[in-house]
């Protein structure tokens, strides 16, 4: 078999691992980034920039807690603004990691090996960002524990019918499982780093977190079982989390929210935006850290194909919304909602959304685009913007004009809305920087395994 995993009849663009690597070179390439080499200048630039944004997030959050939600642009009728848009956006981004690490693992897709560690880390950071917003956006953050089903003397339970409560369970489960899955997968590599690190604090810390991994057969046996179990546990989460998040909207009565298509449409959108974010991060990183041998054009091509597929599902969702709204529903409120979405005061956002997710997406049909790093990078950013706009259109445009025209309103984000949004991006990149700096961003042992497998196959 050739050095590629592909469907017969399709000509792959590049191998999964460029030739000339053995166990030692793979281990060295990945672990040297953490242990030996100085960080490239770009790392420092991103580190400080995102650190600055993180500071903005911290300060604006302090001010938010001191003053109250009034510093944001929300109002009645638009009770949810950037915070919920960001929440949904970040949660969506997280989905790529779980899909790659769990579902592709179960399907034995070898190409996931080079990117799963990174994508999973990205998932965690995105969930961190997402998890921040529910805390920020409630009126009384000091009482947010009311939402948890904890035993109390008043025998009060939360409201189990509320999708927001389902969110709490869905997102916390998701965060926990993703964290454990990621950490379990890290153990052998942490041990590698422990073994390669010079004596000192690094060795100690990696040693602690490696949990005494010695690479015995029994370890490997248990590891493989646990990993498979986690993959199995995570798989439904890929579908469930964003379905539950979409129910926040679908359960409601507001035109533009009240739509049964939301769960599948949201899940597709989540994977779509998640892959876009993986590309946004990996394209520069493979260049910066010279990882082109491991994250090859073949990977980019495959990820772009996933984007194309999920993006088309999302487009189908848009089309069906228009169909239901304008043609099928027969409801004055739904029809108006759709017209308003297209031609109303926020029509620009819908048009921009169609340009980002509808028009730009079509470039992915081209193999040349799929296999060129720079256009793909630009497209991935456009898709990220498009998916943010999608959530903006759903959350804000629907709320501004609902049933009673007397209560129509407008939402104008304030400086603090932007600060929280930009700040969360800062948090995300800050965490990515730390991850790249301190942990192996590519799964070393799985790469060695894959490499051997490929070499073995090709030799025999």
């Amino acid at each position: 078999m050739e050095n590629r995993l592909s469907h017969p009849g399709l000509q792959p663009v590049a191998p999964l691992i460029e030739p000339g690597h053995d166990d030692a070179s793979i281990t060295a390439t990945v672990s040297d980034i953490v242990l030996e080499k100085p960080q490239p200048k770009a790392w420092w630039a991103v580190f400080f920039l995102s650190g600055g944004l993180l500071t903005i997030l911290g300060l604006s959050t302090l001010w938010l807690f001191w003053m109250g939600l009034g510093i944001w642009g929300i109002n009645v009728p638009v009770g949810w603004g950037f915070a919920i848009v960001n929440l949904v956006w970040w949660i969506g981004i997280g989905h790529a990691g779980t899909l790659i690490s769990a579902i592709l693992h179960l399907f034995h897709q070898g190409w996931r090996t080079a990117i799963n560690r990174f994508a999973e880390a990205m998932t965690l950071f995105a969930v961190m960002c997402a998890g921040l917003f529910p805390l920020l956006h409630v009126g009384r953050p000091w009482a947010i524990y009311f939402i948890l089903p904890y035993p109390n003397t008043m025998a009060l339970w939360p409201q189990f019918r509320s999708p927001l409560l389902w969110d709490v369970f869905a997102i916390s489960t998701y965060a926990t499982v993703s964290m454990l899955f990621w950490y379990t997968g890290l153990l052998p590599d942490l041990a590698t780093l422990r073994d390669r690190a010079p004596r000192g604090i690094k060795k100690t810390l990696y040693g602690i977190f490696a949990l005494g991994w010695r690479g015995s057969a029994r370890h490997w046996h248990r590891y493989e079982t646990a990993y498979l179990l986690f993959a199995g546990l995570s798989t439904p989460l890929v579908v469930s989390v964003h379905s539950v998040v979409s129910l926040d909207f679908a359960i409601s009565v507001i035109p533009g929210w009240h739509a049964t298509i939301f769960p599948p449409y949201f899940v597709a959108g989540a994977i779509y935006s998640g892959f876009a974010m993986v590309l946004t991060l990996l394209i520069p990183i493979r260049k910066l850290y010279k990882l082109e041998d491991f994250i090859t054009l073949h990977h980019l091509d495959l990820m772009a194909k996933v984007m194309l597929a999920t993006g088309l599902i999302v487009l189908y969702g848009y089309a069906s919304e228009v169909f239901y709204g304008l043609v099928y529903s027969g409801s004055e409120h739904e029809t108006f909602m759709m017209w308003n979405r297209i031609t109303g005061p926020y029509g620009w956002s819908y048009i921009a959304l169609l340009l980002c997710n509808g028009v730009a997406l079509q470039f992915l049909w081209s193999k040349r685009v799929r296999t060129s790093a720079v256009p793909l990078f630009i497209l991935s950013i456009i898709v990220n913007i498009g998916m943010w706009l999608e959530r903006f259109v759903i959350v804000v445009t629907s709320l501004t004009r609902d049933y009673l025209p007397s209560s129509w309103g407008h939402y104008t984000p304030t400086l603090y809305d932007w600060a929280a949004y930009v700040g969360s991006i800062g948090l995300f990149f800050f965490m990515v920087c730390l991850f790249v700096r301190y942990l192996p961003m590519i799964n070393i042992f799985e790469m060695r395994h894959l490499n051997r497998h490929i070499r073995h196959e090709s030799h025999s």
Binding site: M67, L69, I74, Q159, S162, L164, V253, E332, P405
Partner: protein
């Protein structure tokens, strides 16, 4: 204690001497102790022999452990709650009738424009917390308007003048008394020459009595009266027509047809609340005939919005219309300019004339607006006379004011006297003439000329006038001081205070008059009691206090010396440039309520504007000028200019602007200063209500306006129509199809079509519900302020209103409906009050993650404030958008005065909490407790929500829908009853009753004959 201890009687002289040498705080248990400390010690020792006074001495091991153990325990206790360090004094004897936690109710009356409105004030532990109408009072019938509701906030306004001030320095009242003494003596020697009084309109009998006394003592004194929204034209019109002053009252209940000649009788003027009530009763098509209202007006008013036919005409054409009608009705001696008549829409005039004739003698009303010139008033008298209305629907009474005066002339006289140096002592009782006098009457100059003389201003706030008077005396609020006042029909009420003045120096006008009479420390009660001494014995006085009105004091019918004389020849004033119409503001009135946050934040009925006035103009005029809403424009009249934000008002006549009075205050307080523009700056004595020849130009720049409904008036209104939010039909159609409202819009899904088991929503006991009759609602906003007052709803300020964060629990939606040929430029207006709909399938309830909004067994959507974490999901999911969120800490928890005002039965909400209408659940609970105590069910009508109680038109009815005999259940069975957007399955407990209009068949072609319905 045995009386064995004897000691010398207390030597007070020695005591004083000893105290004189003590420094620092000294406490003693009795005078004996102080007098003889040594002896006292001995006494104590004898009484508590073993270590009683000093338990720790000597420190034994046992004592030590005991005390330590106790203190450790106590320290734990002490940390539970920090006890305030203050003395409390319990009642030794419970005051009679005072039960803590139980409200008391007192009859009193508020005054606006000189006329009283009877009120019932709720008092919680001696703090007035709510005002409601007094059923027995003929001006109120138990209802109120927004102004009356809001006067409660005036009492607690933290910006009130709190002490006497002389030239800005704080003084006490005695300083004023001593300062006035020599001045008064001097004046007395001159027969009172030099003593001038300036008041607003006065109907108070006590004031009249005191004035008579004062004139006896100071025969030369001059009494001036002025208020900007005065009724000079009405007085002059009566004088012209009859040769005497008469007060005109109207009986709208009897009138089948009403023609308003620019009269906003539902909102402005004495009797407005009563008229609104009677008018609404006369439109009750369910129980009889429905009246028809024609309104000819020069700028849109609320009364015009309620008209069946509204005619928008330039100001001067109102007179032409009146004259033309008089001619058509065959009144002799009325001239009319033929050219001016041609400019009137002939069909309209003919239809009105025909209708007036058809209505029958004594069955119509022609009512002129206070702003219209005397000729129109005279014409109205003539028309009413010709139609046989006098004695039926139009009643002439003796003047109710103590001394009807041409107020503009009166004020001018004051200024002239000041300039001529004829004033020694000027006492201004209330009012704010420096701010609100006509621009060509220089009150400020007059006050400057009086520098060095004594000028005293009795005022609630240190305002523009106080700043130019030598003395400013805090005026007691009507809930703080005794007084009396007459209603629109002359019935007198005692103004009963509920609380001592919050500021000890605050005085009433009566007390100041008494001071002028030399009774330096007269108490208001004695003064008022004296007035009624001859007519009311003690029992009758008590009855008058508890009933709130004094029987038999209504004004007597006027004896008219002559039939009404038509005015002289018709000389239509030449029109040039732009017309300017002045109106009192529906929120701050003439500016007196400028510091009242409730009224400032009250969306004006038509414009939905808050916190500002604006230059109102038509779409065409705005387009011609090239201005949009919020663009600054400059209005110049005869060299005087004012600059304000433009605001398009649908239905406004072209080339005319409306300016609302009451804004541009410089010294109003923290709430009201610096808002809007001062329309008084261009209002002259010659043209107080209307000016022509003005220029209007774009001034450049913008001024943000805070409106509670967004700017897409027409788009919104079109959608409201398409969604059948307000259901409406002409009367004729209703007679044929009484259930027309059931065939508009989509139907509600059947109740059984639900995934949930019906028993999950089992109701128990009462089933509270509400109906709002759109055919009664006049859109006046009284409900909004009443609710704000009852439910401790905060004011959020202009900036927050711009950000759409107003907190009012009930709102009045206003939609336009394209009218005849002019479409949206001559629209019909509909109002729709929206409180919480208390849905049975409430979308807000299941989405709250913490269960902070729950369904009660009686069908209320209860809001649990201290459970709410503020996700705002409930508000998003509310199709009616009635929920309000505390984006900041809007409620004032700190200002001591405002703390006193809060209704103790309603939680004051903190930051980050959602709130909304509760159907006044505190009132429901109070009634339920009362009923349980008496072992019965709550009676229909026992619970009256705040909005319902305030509504002058009786549009809101609340009660138990389960009880088929209840008013609300009957109204719900009315075919006009419909649920707002019930097609989405909310099953609202609050429902609306469809609106009817009664267009004239003669003008029917201009209006759609029947509503859009499905089969």
């Amino acid at each position: 204690m045995e009386a064995s201890v004897e000691h010398a009687p207390v030597d007070y002289e020695a005591l004083r001497a000893r105290l004189a040498h003590e420094t620092g705080p000294l406490y003693w248990r009795s005078l004996e102790e102080l007098a003889t400390l040594d002896e006292f010690d001995a006494l104590v020792h004898r009484e508590f022999p073993s270590g009683a006074t000093d338990p720790l001495d000597p420190v034994s091991r046992r004592n030590f452990l005991k005390v330590m153990g106790a203190s450790i325990m106590l320290s734990g206790l002490a940390s539970c709650a920090r006890q305030p360090d203050e003395q409390i004094v319990p009642y030794v004897k419970q005051p009679e009738q005072t039960v803590p936690g139980k409200a008391q109710y007192f009859a009193t009356a508020t005054t606006l424009g000189g006329y009283g409105l009877g009120l019932v004030a709720t008092s919680h532990t001696n703090r007035p917390t709510k005002l409601e109408g007094l059923k027995e009072h003929p001006s109120s019938l138990g209802r109120t308007d927004a102004f009356a509701q809001a006067t409660l906030l005036d009492l607690y306004d933290p910006d009130r003048l709190d002490t006497v001030r002389q030239d800005g320095h704080e003084r006490d009242y005695q300083a004023l008394v001593s300062a006035l003494r020599p001045v008064l003596e001097r004046i007395a020697t001159n027969q009172g020459a030099g003593l001038h009084l300036l008041t607003e309109t006065v109907t108070s009998p006590t004031f009249g009595r005191q004035m008579a006394q004062l004139r006896e003592r100071f025969p030369q004194l001059r009494w001036h009266q002025y208020e900007p929204a005065n009724r000079d034209n009405a007085r002059q019109g009566a004088l012209d027509a009859f040769g005497v002053y008469v007060q005109t009252l109207y009986d709208f209940k009897k009138a089948a047809l009403v023609l308003s000649l620019d009269a906003d009788f539902l909102c402005v003027g004495p009797g407005r609340v009563r008229y609104a009530a009677d008018f609404a009763d006369a439109r009750d098509a369910d129980n009889g005939a429905m009246n028809r209202l024609y309104v000819a007006e020069c700028a849109p008013t609320l009364t015009g919005a309620n008209a069946d036919h509204r005619l928008s005409q330039p100001f001067s054409q109102i007179e032409t219309l009146a004259r033309a009608l008089a001619r058509l009705l065959g009144v002799s001696g009325v001239e009319v300019d033929a050219e001016a008549v041609r400019a009137l829409p002939e069909a309209w005039v003919n239809a009105v004339a025909q209708d007036l004739r058809a209505a029958g003698r004594g069955r119509s009303i022609v009512i002129p607006g206070d702003g219209q010139p005397p000729a129109v008033h005279a014409l109205a008298h003539v028309l009413n006379d010709a139609l046989g209305n006098v004695g039926e629907t139009v009643l002439y009474k003796n003047p109710i004011e103590v001394e009807p005066t041409d107020q503009t002339a009166s004020l001018r006289g004051l200024v002239e006297d000041a300039a001529a140096g004829r004033i020694e002592l000027l006492v201004i009782l209330g009012g704010n003439p420096v701010y609100n006098a006509p621009a060509d009457i220089d009150v400020l100059g007059a006050l400057e000329a009086l520098r060095g003389k004594t000028t005293v201003h009795l005022t609630s706030h240190f305002n523009e006038t106080s700043a130019h008077c030598a003395w400013a005396v805090p005026e007691a609020h009507f809930l703080e001081a005794w007084g009396d006042v007459r209603g629109h029909d002359g019935v007198a009420s005692i103004v009963q205070p509920l609380i001592l003045p919050l500021y000890p120096d605050a005085k009433s006008a009566h007390e100041i008059l008494a001071l002028l009479l030399g009774e330096e420390n007269a108490y208001g009660l004695d003064i008022v009691r004296e007035t009624w001494q001859s007519t009311l014995d003690d029992n009758a006085w008590k009855t008058a206090l508890s009933r709130g009105i004094i029987q038999g004091t209504a004004a007597a019918a006027a004896r008219l010396p002559q039939p009404p004389q038509p005015p002289g020849p018709h000389t239509p004033p030449p029109r040039s440039g732009v017309d300017v119409v002045f109106r009192t503001d529906p929120g701050v009135y003439d500016g007196r309520f400028a510091n009242n946050g409730w009224l400032q934040e009250l969306p004006r009925p038509l414009t939905k504007l808050t916190w500002d006035n604006a230059v109102l103009l038509s779409r065409a005029t705005a387009a011609k000028l090239g201005v949009r809403d919020e663009d600054l424009v400059e209005v110049t009249i005869a060299g005087r200019g004012v600059r304000g934000a433009a605001l398009v008002q649908l239905g406004h006549p072209d080339d005319t602007v409306t300016l609302h009075l009451g804004y541009g205050r410089e010294r109003a307080g923290r709430v009201g200063a610096g808002l809007g523009f001062n329309a008084y700056a261009v209002r002259t004595a010659q043209a107080p209500w209307y000016a022509t020849g003005a220029t209007l130009k774009k001034a450049g720049g913008r001024y943000p306006l805070a409106r509670t409904e967004s700017h897409h008036l027409i788009e919104q209104s079109e959608h409201a129509g398409r969604r059948h939010l307000v259901r409406e039909a002409p009367l004729a159609h209703f007679r044929e199809h009484p259930d027309f409202a059931q065939h508009m819009g989509a139907h509600a899904p059947a109740a059984h079509k639900t995934l949930y088991k019906p028993e999950e929503k089992a109701y128990d006991g009462y089933a509270w519900g509400m109906t709002i009759d759109l055919n009664r609602c006049i859109g006046c906003n009284a409900c909004i302020v009443a609710c704000q007052s009852e439910n401790n709803i905060p004011v959020v300020g202009k900036d927050q209103v711009i950000r759409q964060r107003e907190m009012q629990w009930i709102r009045v939606d206003r939609y336009y409906k394209a009218g005849g040929a002019a479409g949206f430029d001559d629209p019909e207006v509909v109002f729709q009050p929206i409180p919480c709909m208390q849905c049975e399938n409430a979308p807000c309830e299941p989405v709250c993650p913490v269960g902070a909004t729950m369904h009660s067994k009686e069908g209320l959507n209860d809001m649990v404030y201290n459970r709410c974490v503020g996700t705002r999901y409930c508000s998003n999911n509310c199709p009616y958008k009635v929920r309000r969120f505390n984006f900041y800490k809007f409620a004032d928890h700190d200002t001591p005065q405002l703390k006193l005002m809060h209704n103790p039965n309603v939680t004051v909400r903190g930051r980050g909490v959602m709130e909304k209408c509760t159907y006044c659940v505190q009132r429901i609970n109070a009634a339920r407790i009362e009923a349980k105590r008496e072992n019965r069910s709550v009676r229909d009508g026992e619970i009256v929500t705040a909005c319902q109680s305030a509504c002058p038109a009786g549009a809101i009815v609340f009660g138990d829908t389960r009880d088929a005999a209840s008013r609300v259940a009957k109204l719900k069975a009315n075919p006009r009853n419909y649920g707002l957007i019930e097609e989405i399955g909310t099953r609202p407990r609050t429902t609306h009753l469809a609106k009817l209009r009664n267009p004239s068949p003669a003008l029917a072609e201009s209006r759609p004959a029947q509503p859009e319905e499905h089969a």
